[in-house]
């Protein structure tokens, strides 16, 4: 492993840092500049629509994960529990509510503006519904628009479902945007933003697919969560987003050509011992320690489901500027957590095979039933279909009480030993044959 001081910031990292700095700066000045603020969620987010109305997005679950990384979430969660929230429920919600109770201070240390519009794009997570009902009561002056995204229960998106969503967009969502922003809906502008999105999506897929190369030049989970930031949050559709993914792709392609391994917080990995597919979100409170267990053991995540919460573009979906509202509807329904369980199993199986993974690992999150309920069955199915060893660890999103370093490390070490042993057996078998 290279010395940490040798870790050089790539150009794409600098671009992303500047994008985020500008975003939070804009948010901190929103009231002065008169920009309207829209709170919404990552899965099924309508960022192109938000940008087409010149509004600024705030993502409560991003606030929560950043609070987790900044070690603030534990206190926020306890404050939410003091006001009556159960220990059992989603910690993103409690962290967000706790953050509000503590002045709504964002990651830059500045107060986040209150919402002018609460856009509940209810995609793939039932808790979103509850979360926004709570936010509605905390911000009674904000307009609230509900966009119900039907679940892909039959494993496909139907015309009736698209019609339902488009009607909601036309009758419920757009009028609220127009009211709050004081601007008329501009379909041409939305289409232009969607055209940009298509290009960013193309580059993003190319980035992800570079992990099929052996050794993989990227970690598609721990580093993947940084790479997915712009496209899954505030920037998809913007010129900066396109610039970012173009740059990222060229950087990683260059790394692949040079046979370089993923960059970690401690520099570049030197050896790829295990290639894994991971299901489930990461833990944010101990993100670095968690990642370190993997790179110390030479384990690279070559594909992950979590990076698809904002869209499963590698299955071919792209925004369609020709039919902007239908495109947004289809996008929402296609996000990973809106897929049914058989679709999820099929996708993971495809990843294990196409990315030539040595194993499949689930990080099961206490807070997130949308991901977690059914994961033990997914694990069995993948084991049966692919034959790779499967592993299972448990943690939480942002509640530090549910991250047990020793337990997780212990389990992962045993799992890596199993993978090592299997490699030895497989190599002996191939010699015998």
């Amino acid at each position: 492993m290279a010395n940490p001081k040798d870790a050089v910031k790539e150009k794409s990292m600098i671009i992303q840092k500047e994008m985020l700095a500008k975003q939070f700066n804009d948010l901190s000045k929103a009231k002065e500049t008169g920009k309207k603020v829209c709170y919404t969620f990552v899965p099924g987010n309508l960022i192109e629509l938000i940008l087409s109305f010149d509004m600024l997005p705030v993502y409560p679950e991003i606030n929560a994960l950043q609070s987790g990384m900044r070690k603030k979430s534990g206190g926020y969660i306890k404050d939410a529990e003091k006001m009556g929230h159960s220990e059992d429920v989603c910690t993103y919600v409690k962290c967000d509510i706790g953050m509000m109770l503590n002045g709504n201070i964002g990651p830059t240390g500045e107060k986040l503006p209150e919402p002018d519009l609460l856009l509940l794009s209810y995609t793939g997570c039932f808790t979103f519904l509850k979360w926004f009902e709570n936010l509605n009561r905390l911000y009674p002056n904000a307009e609230i628009a509900m966009l119900h995204t039907p679940y892909q229960e039959d494993g496909k998106i139907t015309k009736e479902q698209i019609d339902y969503m488009v009607k909601q967009l036309k009758e419920e969502v757009l009028p609220k945007f127009e009211k709050v922003s004081g601007k008329k809906f501009d379909s041409a502008r939305l289409s232009k933003l969607l055209s940009n999105s298509v290009q960013s999506e193309d580059y993003w897929v190319k980035v992800l697919q570079l992990a099929k190369i052996k050794p993989s030049p990227i970690d598609a989970y721990f580093a993947g969560v940084y790479y997915m930031g712009p496209i899954n949050t505030a920037f998809r559709g913007s010129d900066e987003c396109l610039e970012y993914y173009k740059e990222l792709y060229h950087e990683i392609k260059d790394r692949a050509e040079k046979k370089l391994l993923p960059v970690t917080p401690e520099g570049e990995m030197q050896k790829e011992r295990f290639r894994l597919v991971v299901e489930g979100p990461p833990n944010w409170t101990n993100f670095r320690e968690f990642w370190k267990i993997f790179y110390d053991m030479g384990a690279v995540i070559v594909a992950s489901t979590y990076t698809k919460v904002g869209g499963v573009y590698d299955l071919g979906y792209r925004q369609n500027p020709e039919e902007p509202l239908e495109s947004l509807a289809t996008y929402c329904m296609g996000c990973y957590t809106n897929l049914n369980l058989p679709q999820r199993v099929d996708l993971i199986e495809k990843y294990v095979k196409e990315y030539q993974a040595d194993g499949f690992l689930i990080n099961s999150i206490k807070s997130c039933n949308s991901f977690s309920a059914g994961q033990l069955m997914i694990m069995r199915e993948i084991e049966q279909r692919t034959g790779v060893p499967v592993g299972f660890i448990e943690s939480d999103l942002v509640d530090p009480r549910y991250f047990s370093y020793a337990n997780i490390k212990n389990r992962l070490e045993s799992y890596f030993q199993m993978l090592e042993q299997r490699k030895i057996i497989l190599s002996q078998e191939s010699v015998t044959v």
Partner: protein
């Protein structure tokens, strides 16, 4: 089976018959009959009835079945209901069911639909999405389409298509059912000693395992008895129990609340049977439209239903006033995100309206009620002494 005691005893047995013997016997009499199992909270049972089916509520195993295999399918931080249902499916309790409906109540039930799909339980497995847009031309159209999918599913099994006449007949029967159940609740509001909360629970839970015709007949007989004085009034407070709409509380818990001095004058235990408030329009040319309208405009309040514009907390307080209750017991299953995330806001509404409340959590197989009994007893005493 004519005396109240006989009926109550039969209901208790049927409500917790995890083999669903009665429904299976009903099906065995006609090869075109189907059994469609549904999970909490609500499905429009009328459409199943009209397609020559019986809608059977699968409310979990409660404390009546030891869970061994089910625990291997769920992490410790997921509620108890789905692990019991998987256990039943693996133990063949649900053999003979033709299809399963998984209403849009939470992510656990949603993903359970996928687990049934993967394990190919039944001839169809369908997630039944509740429209969360209440415009008749938007959410109404969507909801109608959801019902049509179920009708098609059943048709693919038995070749029976729900007709306009069949739907109108089913609506009439379920209107009667809802009216009779509501009358029981109205009588219990005034004279809760005439029928205990546990007895009421057994009657309603048995009702989702038998035909609506049988249940209506039974409810009539029960009402004939409890319209007259029966039992002995106690110096109890009156409470509404809220938050138990999905995973059901063990009967011991309901009994403990009553024994601690609280008459339960309303609850959301078997909410699906009482979901639609009032009658659905009868004898129309478009009965699916009538059921849709009822869903959009006459649904009770529940955690799975988007409530901005008509918040649940306010509706709970209205219910407390209508039932002349002294307080609310928030009783939710552990790890039930919908109920538990609603609780703080509902408590705030109660505080604002001066309605006292307590809360606790349970699993469907909780076996120790001492703490709950003490808590409910103290609640009762405090209201009697100081309210």
């Amino acid at each position: 089976m004519n005396s109240l005691e006989e009926i109550l005893s039969w209901c208790e047995k049927t409500a917790f018959d995890l083999e669903f013997t009665h429904a299976k016997q009903w099906k065995s009499k006609d090869e075109k009959r189907v059994i469609v199992g549904y999970l909490p909270i609500y499905v429009p049972r009328e459409i199943i009835h009209a397609a020559n089916g019986i809608a059977v509520g699968i409310m979990g195993t409660g404390d009546r079945k030891q869970i061994i295999k089910g625990d291997a399918y769920y992490q410790s931080y997921i509620c108890h209901l789905p692990r019991g249902i998987i256990e039943m499916a693996l133990d063949n309790n649900l053999n003979g069911f033709d299809g399963f409906l998984f209403p849009a109540i939470c992510d656990c039930v949603r993903n359970l639909s996928g687990m049934f799909k993967l394990s190919k339980k039944g001839k169809f497995q369908r997630y039944f999405d509740y429209a969360q847009n209440f415009d008749p031309f938007i959410g109404g159209t969507f909801y109608k389409h959801e019902m049509e999918k179920v009708i098609d599913d059943i048709y693919n099994v038995n070749g029976v298509k729900a007709s306009v006449d069949g739907l109108n007949k089913a609506i009439k029967l379920y209107n009667i059912n809802r009216r009779l159940i509501e009358e029981i609740y109205d009588i219990r509001q005034k004279y809760p000693w005439r029928l205990s909360a546990v007895e009421t629970y057994h009657i309603l839970r048995a009702g989702i395992c038998i035909t609506v015709e049988e249940h209506n007949e039974m409810l009539q007989k029960i009402l004939n008895v409890i319209r007259n004085e029966r039992g002995e009034a106690m110096d109890n407070i009156r409470v509404v129990v809220s938050g138990s709409f999905c995973e059901q509380p063990p009967v011991g818990l309901i009994k403990s609340i009553e024994m601690a001095g609280c008459y339960i004058v309303d609850d959301d235990f078997m909410l699906g049977s009482r979901w639609i408030q009032g009658d659905i329009e009868e004898d129309t040319n478009d009965p699916l439209e009538a059921i849709t309208k009822a869903y959009l405009n006459q649904s009770t309040f529940a955690s799975c239903y988007y409530d901005v514009g008509n918040p649940k907390g306010k509706r709970l307080v209205e219910l407390v006033k209508r039932r002349e209750a002294d307080g609310v017991i928030f009783s939710a299953a552990s790890f039930c995100d919908p109920a538990l995330l609603d609780r703080p806001e509902m408590q705030k509404e109660c505080d604002a309206a001066g309605v006292p409340h307590i809360n606790f959590q349970y699993h469907e197989n909780t076996g120790q009620f001492k703490v709950i009994k003490e808590q409910a007893g103290t609640f009762s005493d405090s209201i009697k002494l100081w309210a």
